[in-house]
Every structure is written in structure tokens, then in C-alpha cells.
């Protein structure tokens, strides 16, 4: 396990542990060039809530991010945010329903008011589109 790895500490070439900081870091909340772990941050990171240039993670953030809720320039995964996104948009806010009743029910669950039509056949929950 690496020691330190906190803000201000010098990055190591290889860091493994809790919140390690290094060129290659594996662990929980690792930060480095290549990261594998939970909440990693770095150039390449694989894990949960990763942040870095390349991420494969859940809730990853980086230039390249693969995972759930990823954020980055290139992202792949549900709910990803980035310039280039490869993902499935499974947010119920993005779904349209074939009946107004279903959309109204979904609106109640989402905590918004009303419904609006989407095309000729479908209804979406909430008065306004998601932003």
C-alpha cells in the first residue's frame, strides 16, 4: 500500500492503496496517470467514480470515460456526459410513454408537474423537457 497520496504529496510511479497518487494507481480514490479503483482520478483510470484522462469506471470523469454516470470528453456508459458519448440514456426523464396516464404517473414519481406530447403518439412526463 502506498503511503501518503494526499494533496501536496509527490506522485509515485506506482501507487496502490486508499487514495494513492501516482503515475499508475490502483485503489480507492486513486489519482494518477493510470488509475484502477474506486473514485480514481488520473490520465487513465478504471474504477468507480473515476476522474482522469482515460476512465473505465462507474461515475467516471475524464477525457475518456467508460462506465456508469461517466463524464469526460469521450464517455461510454449510462448517463455519461461528454463531448463524445457512447451510452444508453436510461434516465426515466428521457422516456416517452404511449399513454398520457403513464406519463402523468411518471411525472408524479419524478416530482414534476404535467405532461407534454412527444410526436403524435407519445407523452413525456413534466411540463418541460429536461435540460
Amino acid at each position: 500500500m502506498s503511503e501518503g497520496g494526499h494533496c501536496g504529496s509527490k506522485p509515485k510511479r506506482i501507487a496502490i492503496g486508499v487514495a494513492p497518487l501516482g503515475t499508475i494507481s490502483i485503489g480507492i480514490v486513486p489519482m494518477g496517470v493510470i488509475c484502477i479503483g474506486i473514485v480514481p482520478m488520473g490520465v487513465v483510470s478504471i474504477g468507480v467514480v473515476a476522474m482522469g484522462v482515460i476512465n473505465a469506471a462507474v461515475v467516471g470523469m475524464g477525457l475518456v470515460a467508460v462506465g456508469v454516470n461517466t463524464m469526460g470528453v469521450i464517455t461510454a456508459g449510462p448517463m455519461s456526459m461528454g463531448l463524445i458519448q457512447i451510452r444508453s440514456t436510461t434516465n426515466p426523464r428521457y422516456l416517452a410513454y404511449p399513454s398520457r396516464e403513464e406519463a402523468e404517473e411518471q411525472a408524479r414519481q419524478l416530482g414534476c408537474e404535467g405532461v407534454h406530447r412527444m410526436g403524435d403518439r407519445y407523452w413525456m412526463p413534466c411540463n418541460e423537457h429536461p435540460q
Binding site: Q85, T89, A96, S99, E101, H116, G119, D120, H129
Partner: protein, 53 residues
């Protein structure tokens, strides 16, 4: 079509091409941008508000 039941469909996509491709399934054409994402149909359907906008 109100009153019918079926599976919900995804109406918002990452790319314009995806939204345009899905538009016929909603009985419309084209796509429009919503923030960083794209929704099916050239423009919003009829808004049916049950409250203030």
C-alpha cells in the same frame, strides 16, 4: 392514442442522428436539440400543461 399502454420509448439521445432515426417511431420527423442532447421530432409536441409553465 391516450389510454393505450405499452413500453416507454427513449426520446432523448446523445446524437442528432440517433434522434432522427427514432423520430418515425413517434410519428414525427427530425430532431431538436435540448441542452447537450437531442430529442426526437423537429419541434416539441403540443404542450399539455397541468399547472403553470
Amino acid at each position: 392514442m391516450a389510454g393505450s399502454h405499452g413500453k416507454p420509448k427513449q426520446a432523448m439521445f446523445n446524437t442528432k442522428a440517433e434522434a432522427e432515426a427514432a423520430a418515425p417511431g413517434f410519428g414525427c420527423k427530425g430532431a431538436h436539440q435540448m441542452g447537450e442532447m437531442w430529442m426526437v421530432c423537429d419541434k416539441h409536441g403540443e404542450m399539455d400543461h397541468k399547472g403553470s409553465h
